[in-house]
Symmetry: C2
Subunit: 241 residues, 2 copies
C-alpha cells in the first residue's frame, strides 16, 4: 500500500503541514484529493463562490503533490429540477476552473457517480465524463469507480474510449441487498460486480496508476479495526480483483 | 381513474374469475399485467421452465384483457457475475416468448429498471429496451417509468426513439433522501423528478395510453388509508404532472 486519497474534510481537520508530515513519514503518495463540486447554480455570485472554493481545492491538491483533484458535478439545488441545465452549468464550471488547474499542474478527474445518487451528483455515466473530457481537453480526465459504473451497458466501450485519460481507478463491491444508497459498499468479492473484467478493461487502456480501495460502509467496515480493514483490502485485492 | 395494473401475485391470491368480476364491476380497464422475468439462466431446463412461466403470464394477460404484459430482464443468478451474458440470454428469452405472445395478442412491454436495481433486473436503460424492440419487432414495446429513467442523460433521445412503441407510462417521484432501494418512492411532486418534462416528451410521441401511478412505499403510502392514497394520486396528477 503505497498511496492514499486524501479527503478535504480530514485535511481541514488535520492541517496541511501535519498532513504533509504524516504522508511523508509513512511513505505514502497521494493519488487524489477528494473532492470538489462543479457548480450547477445559475446565480453568478453563487457560481463565483463555488469557483473560488474549487480553486482552493486545486491549491490544496498541488500542495499535497496529489496526482489529481476529484471533481463531481453538483445536482440541481434549491428546488430546481432542471437536470439538463445543471449538467450544462457543471460543464461550464469545469471549463471556468480549468485554467487555474492547468497552471497549478493539477489534473481534474471527473468522476461519474451512480444514478442512484443523481439527486446529489449530476454526472452519472462514464459517457458523460468522456464527453466533457473530449470538449475540455488537456488537464481533464476521468475517475473510474467500479461501484459507479458496473451496471452500465456501455461500460466496456466507454472504458476503452477513456484510454489515456483515466486518472484513477476505485475498487469496492455491490452488496445484495444494498441497505443504503450511499454508505453500504462491500469488500471486493462480497458482492456481484465482475471486478476482474473491469480491471482488465482498465489495465488494457494502459492505465498504470493506483488501484484504490474505497469502501463507504457505515454499518460494517467503518466499525472495524482499521488494521483489520487494511489487511482485508490487501488480501481481497489479491484474490477478488 | 379508469384503469389499473394487475399484479400476478394478487391475481393468484384472488383467482381469475373473481378478478375479472371485480374489474368488470368497477369498470376498470386493465392496463398491464405485472410481471414476468425473461430468464438470464444458461441451463436449458431452467430456461424451459422460465419460458413456461412466461407463457402462463401471457395467457393470464389475455384472459384479463390486459393491454400488455410487463417484462423484466432477470439479473445474473446463482453466483454468476456475467452481466453482459445475462443481457444476451434475456434478449433470447424474449425472442423465445414472442411467438406465443403474438398468437395471444399480448404485447410484451419491456421495462428498463433503475441501475440501483441492476442486481435484480439487467435491463437498466431505455436504450437497452429500445435496442431489443428494434431487434425483435412486432409484439414488443417499452414501458417508461419516470422513476427508472429520470436520471438518464439519454432519456429525451430515447423517449423520442420510442415513439409508437410506448405501451405504458408510470408516475411517481424520487425522494431525497431515498431510504430504500426498492420501496421508498414518493408521491408526484414530493421529489426531484421533472415529471412534466418527461410527460410532455411521452405525450409528444403520440402515446395515448394510461398515465399510471406506481408508488412502492413501504414506510409511508402503503400504510395509509387506500382511499386517501387514491385521492392524493388524483390531486397530484392534476398539479404535479
Amino acid at each position: 500500500v503505497r498511496g492514499i486519497t486524501v479527503r478535504r474534510d480530514k485535511l481541514a481537520a488535520c492541517g496541511m503541514a501535519e498532513a504533509r508530515r504524516l504522508l511523508r513519514d509513512h511513505g505514502m503518495a497521494v493519488s487524489g484529493l477528494s473532492r470538489a463540486f462543479a457548480s450547477s447554480a445559475s446565480d453568478p455570485a453563487v457560481r463565483r463562490a463555488a469557483l473560488d472554493e474549487c480553486r482552493r481545492a486545486v491549491d490544496e491538491a498541488a500542495a499535497l503533490g496529489a496526482l489529481f483533484l476529484t471533481m463531481l458535478g453538483e445536482a440541481p439545488r434549491d428546488g430546481s429540477k432542471d437536470l439538463e441545465g445543471a449538467r450544462r452549468r457543471v460543464r461550464d464550471a469545469l471549463a471556468d476552473l480549468l485554467p487555474h488547474a492547468r497552471a497549478a499542474g493539477v489534473p481534474l478527474a471527473i468522476e461519474p457517480v451512480h444514478p442512484m445518487n443523481a439527486d446529489a451528483c449530476c454526472i452519472n455515466t462514464l459517457a458523460q465524463a468522456n464527453d466533457i473530457v473530449d470538449e475540455l481537453g488537456e488537464g481533464t480526465g476521468v475517475l473510474v469507480d467500479v461501484y459507479h459504473v458496473w451496471w452500465d451497458p456501455a461500460v466496456e466501450a466507454e472504458i476503452r474510449r477513456a484510454a489515456g485519460r483515466i486518472l484513477g481507478f476505485h475498487l469496492s463491491d455491490w452488496l445484495v441487498p444494498t441497505r443504503d444508497v450511499a454508505f453500504d459498499r462491500g469488500m471486493m468479492g462480497d458482492g456481484v460486480i465482475d471486478i476482474p473484467r473491469l480491471r482488465r478493461l482498465v489495465d488494457e487502456t494502459g492505465y498504470d496508476g493506483f488501484h484504490e480501495v474505497e469502501i463507504f460502509s457505515a454499518a460494517d467496515w467503518w466499525r472495524r479495526d482499521p488494521d483489520e480493514v487494511v489487511r482485508a483490502c490487501v488480501a481481497r485485492y489479491a484474490t477478488a480483483c
